[in-house]
């Protein structure tokens, strides 16, 4: 009881000193809870949407594994409607037409489709739609010229009744006029939806009036969904069609959306984990410093009879209190964070309803568990140290604790771990294949990280002195004092810097890999891409035949290449079966992308009955030139193709592609099953580059989804995509860095408290407030820069090892992003200054008399 009371009093007495640790716990827990609440809310929103749209039983085409991307959805014959109506138990049959493969453009040829990754859906207006939307103005599509647009898209693109829309799909284009606006009853998570009248939808999306994409069946009263499904299956025969109950459709949709949301959730939780890791350093430091400052007090408790265990426990109880307080605040902050994220997503076009904010009972429990466990585990070591304080400590002079010299054992362990990690990284860098090196790389990253944390305090002496010589000496005696202060407790400086190191090492490592990727891609483009223009459709969709024809029609071009991926099952001579894609292209593709071969000539793979395979695959399946492979094209017939070339895996583009002539592939597939082009390439007539560019853009003006890029623009796009990815990662790492900065603030603030008497002395003998503040700031900057040095060294090691490992897989060029590295250092110095703001202010404000009168 006394233990608890002492702990509680201590906790309350030092709440200021605990504050930053509590904030660290808060941030980590908030990130964890925020992620959970956000993803749960998204799931709940989709669940609600799916639940409202599903019909009792839905009949749709049987799903084919590894299907061809034809640009036209699979359909069912119109004759099926009458058969379904005859099935016992069916109250009504609603034929539906729906496609997510169309592009919708406004009158000025701007794409009005979803830009958030949510689908753009074009569907026929049918009675089922009224379950999910209301026509809030205008009327439903009554004739071939009418269309209803969803309200969100209309608002976003300033479209209204009377505006024209063009629906561009595989079978062709149709132009319609908006006759009505539909508003979602539940939340529309960002999809753009256009409704057409049924015949128009059939013609535009399926190219036939005799087809639908599915049938929505309503059950007669008293007939359950499952019973109806049995009846329908019996009537249609099993295997030909997919028959699903409402529950099955919803489950299917949930699974689909889950495959998109779950990775996002785990990535976010991963970053939260990094922040938690960094927070541990902060908490360890706080408790170590509190125990050190309380040495006499603890000594007294021991002297009057408190046992080691009691002392130990009293510290742990404080940790539990801190964990609980931090976690509870963190859970609240996490819910706030989720609401904030939902608002941000709303601004980006993904409307989630904050009213359906989903807080599962497990979420606060997980938050609390994370916060308390992390805090208690972090306090374990300092608590043990507190228990080890001898009763004699009460009798000794107070004052700052003796310098904790990092021991030899620590040095040995640290050096051992670091060199083991370094060896693993070197092993990864020199390994024969990317997959063989991944293991050593991961082990190396982990070991070097732990090793650096362990040797950090030892390096502090060296690095801080060097940094001091470079930066602090110019500040004279104040700089010298700052340097000495940073060196006075290497373990503390080391732990503070290590926390910062983790985030910065990840930034540095990823920036090296990212920069090398761009440099390698650019280098490869320079050496192997012969095409002047690279043509793709936005949103990762294929290029519709009409758009492809438009590209072919442009003038000033010496050649145009069609390139598509044809789904096929390849059987190797060793009997293994691979469900894969064959890259089918016009032979001019060998000029557009001059893929290196390890055996044979690439152009030979485009001869009739020929193909190429990648080197790794060939090795795995013991395939050599001249071998014949069975290639069963999905939805078509089986070809026997001869391997005429084996391509190198050392490439950024088309890694692992099996090439064949597009004309060859067409032989084995009916025309309507043949996939649309995924990419096209074009070369200008020599000297007519500019005219060709203009011609291409003019020819494809009516197809907003088609993007034409020359080589420079394509390089820019790669750079931008990578920058976007890196920036997103940096933003997520910012949390870990913020926690680390809090750690610097914490260490400094506690140090200032600990050095009260020294500060008083310095003020008494004439150090000005400004000099004092500068001293604290410089100490902070030096700690932050120390963290940056460790982080950058570690990160560069990781990045270089990863690049060397991937050098065989196309990442041949090592590029160190000096700007990023420079920003890391500069940023660390700035962060150091910011971290010192409060502690320096506090030191400056300290009352001289009180400071020297302490104790």
């Amino acid at each position: 009881m006394t233990v608890l009371r002492t702990s509680l009093r201590n906790f309350l007495a030092h709440k200021g000193r605990m504050a930053l640790s509590a904030v660290a716990v808060l941030l980590s827990v908030a990130f964890v809870c925020g992620t959970l609440v956000f993803t749960d809310t998204m799931n709940a929103t989709f669940d609600k949407l799916f639940a409202t749209t599903a019909s009792d039983v839905t009949v749709s085409p049987q799903k084919v594994d590894n299907a061809q991307q034809t640009g036209t959805p699979d359909s069912l014959p119109a004759s099926l409607q009458a058969r379904l109506a005859q099935v016992p138990g069916v109250a009504g049959v609603v034929p539906e037409v729906s496609s997510q493969l169309a592009t919708v453009a406004d009158s000025s040829n701007q794409d009005v489709g979803s830009s958030t990754g949510a689908p753009t859906i074009v569907a026929n207006w049918n009675p089922t739609q009224t379950k999910s939307v209301d026509i809030t103005s205008g009327h439903v599509p009554l004739g071939p010229g009418d269309a209803v647009l969803d309200a969100d898209t209309a608002a976003k693109h300033h479209l209204g009744i009377g505006d024209r829309l063009r629906v561009i799909a595989g079978p062709g284009d149709v132009t319609v006029t908006i006759s009505g606006i539909a508003t979602f009853r539940t939340t529309n998570p960002g999809a753009a939806v256009v409704y057409l009248d049924t015949p128009t939808a059939q013609r535009a999306l399926l190219g036939s009036h005799d087809a639908y994409t599915d049938y929505a069946l309503a059950a007669r009263p008293g007939v359950s969904d499952d019973q109806l499904k049995v009846q329908v299956t019996a009537a249609l025969g099993s295997g030909t069609y997919q028959v699903q109950t409402a529950a099955e459709v919803t489950a299917q949709n949930q699974k689909d959306i889950g495959s998109f949301l779950d990775p996002m959730k785990y990535v976010l939780l991963g970053f939260a984990g990094i922040a938690v890791l960094v927070g541990i350093f902060l908490i360890v430091n706080t408790f170590s410093m509190l125990v050190a400052q309380r040495t006499r007090e603890i000594g007294l408790m021991r002297a009057i009879g408190a046992s080691r265990r009691q002392v130990n426990r009293s510290v742990l109880v404080e940790a539990v209190l801190l964990g609980v307080v931090g976690s509870l605040a963190g859970i609240g902050a996490g819910i706030g964070l989720a609401v904030g994220l939902i608002k941000v997503m709303g601004a980006l076009g993904m409307h989630l309803d904050t009213a359906s904010l989903t807080i599962k009972p497990a979420t606060p429990l997980i938050g609390l568990a994370v916060g308390v466990v992390v805090t208690v585990v972090s306090a374990m070591l300092p608590a043990r140290r507190a228990g080890a304080i001898s009763p004699m400590a009460a009798m000794r002079d107070a004052g700052t604790p003796a310098d904790a010299r990092a021991g030899r054992i620590r040095a040995a362990i640290g050096i051992l771990l670091t060199s083991a990690g370094g060896t693993a990284l070197a092993l990864a860098a020199t390994s024969a294949s990317a997959s063989a090196g991944a293991g050593p790389l991961a082990i190396g990253v982990l070991l070097t990280l732990v090793g650096f944390v362990v040797v950090g305090p030892l390096l502090a002496g060296l690095v801080v002195r060097v940094l001091g010589a470079v930066t602090l000496r110019m500040f004279g005696p104040v700089g010298r004092l700052a340097e000495r202060n940073a060196l006075r407790n290497p373990r503390r400086t080391g732990a503070t810097a290590a926390a910062l190191m983790i985030g910065l090492a990840l930034v540095a490592g990823l920036s090296v890999v990212g920069d090398s990727m761009v440099a390698s891609a650019t280098a490869q483009m320079n050496t192997s891409v012969g095409a002047d223009f690279i043509i793709q459709a936005g949103n990762g969709q294929p290029i519709s035949p009409a758009a492809a024809r438009a590209v072919h029609s442009a003038g000033h071009l010496s050649h145009v290449t069609d390139r598509t991926d044809v789904a096929a099952t390849v059987t190797a001579p060793d009997g293994t079966v691979d469900k894969t894609e064959i890259a089918a292209a016009t032979p001019s593709y060998t000029d557009d992308l001059q893929a290196k071969t390890v055996q044979g000539q690439l152009i030979d793979a485009y001869a009739p009955g020929a193909m190429s395979v990648p080197a790794g695959w060939a090795k795995d399946h013991k395939v050599t030139l001249g071998d014949r492979l069975d290639v069963a094209f999905t939805g078509g017939t089986t070809a026997r193709l001869t391997v005429r070339a084996i391509t190198s895996d050392d490439t950024v583009f088309d890694k692992g592609a099996m090439y064949t002539n597009i004309a060859e592939a067409r032989k084995y597939l009916p025309a309507d099953r043949f996939p649309e082009n995924v990419m096209m390439f074009a070369a200008a007539v020599p000297g007519q580059q500019a005219q060709a560019d203009a011609a291409l853009k003019a020819a494809t003006a009516a197809y907003p989804q088609v993007k034409i890029r020359d080589q420079a623009e394509y390089k820019d796009m790669i750079q931008q995509q990578l920058d976007q990815l890196l920036n997103m990662i940096y933003a997520l790492l910012a949390l870990a860095i913020i926690v680390a900065v809090l750690g610097v603030v914490n260490t400094l603030a506690l140090s200032v408290v600990e050095r009260t008497r020294e500060i008083g002395l310095m003020r008494a003998i004439g150090m000005s407030r400004r000099q004092l503040r500068r001293m604290v700031r410089l100490e902070s900057v030096v700690i932050a820069l120390f963290g940056a040095v460790l982080g950058v060294a570690l990160g560069m090691g990781w990045g270089i090892a990863a690049q060397k490992l991937l050098a065989l897989a196309g990442l041949g060029v090592l590029s160190i992003p000096w700007t990023t590295i420079g920003v890391v250092f500069l940023g660390s110095a700035v962060v150091g200054l910011l971290a010192a703001l409060f502690p320096a202010f506090r030191a400056g404000r300290m009352n001289v008399l009180k400071a020297i009168a302490t104790d």
């Binding site: 002395l761 150090m767 000099q771």
Partner: protein, 262 residues
């Protein structure tokens, strides 16, 4: 009593008077109204240049407060204080800090030194902070005087208590301040080490012409001074010139008994 041989203040100016520090009507009160406590009650005092003054008095007599006010560490509630020719009662923190740095030396009872600095760095710290280069010759003389020549590279933790206080004395002397204030400088030392320190202080007054004001409750320490001021209830109640330990002790006893009977 010895008179000062030569003034250490070479860069002297007209401001040099026979008094190094002076207070008139110096009052220090804490709190207000009912809870008002007067620590110093209209004290008039002069600290003559080149002399060694000891301030004595029972606990709570205001002796430390007097020293803190004279040294510019604490602000007075009323009255005026001069250090050298400068009135410090009106100075803001910045100028006060500079005054402490340039004109005042301190020796505290304990914790006089920065643990991260060597003995020599501690000694030159006030000058380093001021951005002045120490006078080599003078520094050597001071170091020699306090007998620290072999210990300059040591950190405080590697020095004994007496040695630490000697470093503090050297620091106070090195900058050649107008006046040195000692707050029980021997309070934490055994009698031999204490005698050593007091010997240095006496020596610096006699040989270097330094002005020293020291707060103490030890009659033996006070006997090293030229003059002893007795404080009681925030007033100077007595003064003794050329004190001896026995005489000081006698006087203290009489105050004590008076204090108890009143």
């Amino acid at each position: 009593m010895t008179t000062s041989v030569s003034s250490p203040q070479t860069q002297g100016s007209g401001a040099h008077t026979a008094v190094a520090a002076r207070a008139r009507g110096l009052t220090k009160a804490y709190g207000s109204g009912e809870t008002r406590v007067v620590a110093l009650d209209a004290v008039d005092v002069d600290m003559p240049r080149g002399r060694f003054t000891a301030i004595m008095g029972p606990s709570g007599s205001g002796k430390s407060t007097l020293m803190h006010c004279l040294a510019g560490l604490d602000t007075a509630s009323g009255g005026r204080i001069w250090v050298g020719g400068t009135e410090i009662t009106k100075l803001r923190d910045k100028k006060l800090t500079r005054l402490r740095r340039d004109s005042i030396g301190f020796i505290f009872q304990a914790f006089n030194l920065l643990p991260t600095l060597t003995a020599l760095e501690n000694i030159t710290l006030p000058m380093d902070i001021a951005g002045r280069t120490p006078d080599r010759e003078w520094l050597e003389r001071v170091v020699e005087t306090v007998g620290l020549a072999g210990r300059l590279k040591h950190r405080p933790a590697q020095l004994s208590g007496g040695q630490q206080q000697r470093v503090a004395v050297a620091r106070a002397l090195a900058a050649r301040p107008e006046i040195i204030f000692g707050d029980e400088p021997t309070g934490n030392l055994d009698s031999r080490a204490g005698a050593e320190i007091l010997g240095f202080l006496r020596h610096s007054v006699d040989q270097l012409g330094q002005t020293i004001v020291m707060v103490t409750h030890d009659p033996v320490a006070a006997s090293y001074a030229d003059r002893v001021l007795y404080l009681a209830d925030g007033r100077i109640v007595d003064e003794m010139h050329a004190p001896t330990a026995d005489a000081v002790l006698e006087r203290m006893k009489s105050f004590d008994s008076r204090g108890r009977t009143s």
